[in-house]
Symmetry: D3
Subunit: 67 residues, 6 copies
């Protein structure tokens, strides 16, 4: 029954990697809390680097600076 939301920047995240994130997050809830995987929902949001900020600047700017 848990709900997990993973927000990441949209930088080359393949469907295979997203499937692994979903599998891993679901298994984590099973292993630690004994939750039922059948009703565990995982939603991945991929966010444009213009729309993600850290340290007061966008990831777009940070990537150009090699951060």
């Amino acid at each position: 029954m848990p709900y997990v939301n993973i927000k990441i920047t949209n930088e080359d995240v393949t469907p295979e990697k997203k499937a692994l994130l979903i599998k891993g997050a679901t298994q984590l809830l099973v292993d630690i809390l004994g939750k039922n995987p059948a009703t565990t929902v995982v939603v991945i949001d991929e966010v444009d680097t213009d729309n993600w900020g850290i340290g007061g600047e966008t990831v777009t700017v940070r990537r150009k600076q090699g951060k």
Copy 2:
């Protein structure tokens, strides 16, 4: 003043259906809690089937299996 967020997979959800979801969710808050519809916000997020997981696998995979 309530805020409602509806997350669904992006599988053929027409503008008409989204308008009905918004109308219905707003009316629900009016009917049950007496909220003011003028400041009731509803946001619908349509999520790619690669990005939605249930039962540890993506909806993309489940759809292929006829689930």
Copy 3:
């Protein structure tokens, strides 16, 4: 499989009203989009009036002003 999040202020919302919100939101997704209620999740967040702002002021302040 949908996920619905309803955020409201924590002003006398009884368990009975919360049960009606959950029932109504789930039914909405069934009626409009044909979703499976068994995997439709609804989460209600009740927010302190000090922590909810509209029009640039807290709901606590607005309630004192009779708004």
Copy 4:
């Protein structure tokens, strides 16, 4: 360490304006709560006007009515 999520309709929001939102929201947390900007995350979600409702109708409909 704070996390700020800003949801707006996707109506001509330039990268420059998004950078200003991120800078301003981060500074707000620094000024009011003394938070460390280096670990302050801001995520902007731009939502289609078909998917945003207020007053029980979509923003798409409201824009056509000149609201």
Copy 5:
């Protein structure tokens, strides 16, 4: 830089288990996407069983039915 939000019902989740969820979710982002753990944020929301619905009814009701 990722942000992970885990929503679960507030049923006997110890600080130790929450620490394990945080450790595991962070490691998942490191392992699958090579993210920097130092800026990976995990927030756990514990939700009252009256406020969580699945199948159109609250978890409080379901627990009484032995579900």
Copy 6:
């Protein structure tokens, strides 16, 4: 019409500071995007330090280490 959600740890955040966060976030949307403050919603979530993780550990643990 924007919706802003601010998540912070629940460490001595007074009602006065929360009012300033709400005022400042609303003003930011007015200044940068010309949004209408009357329908701008700000919700602050205060999260227990046991439930907030960064760098793979809880803020509770980090505070004990003087971080």
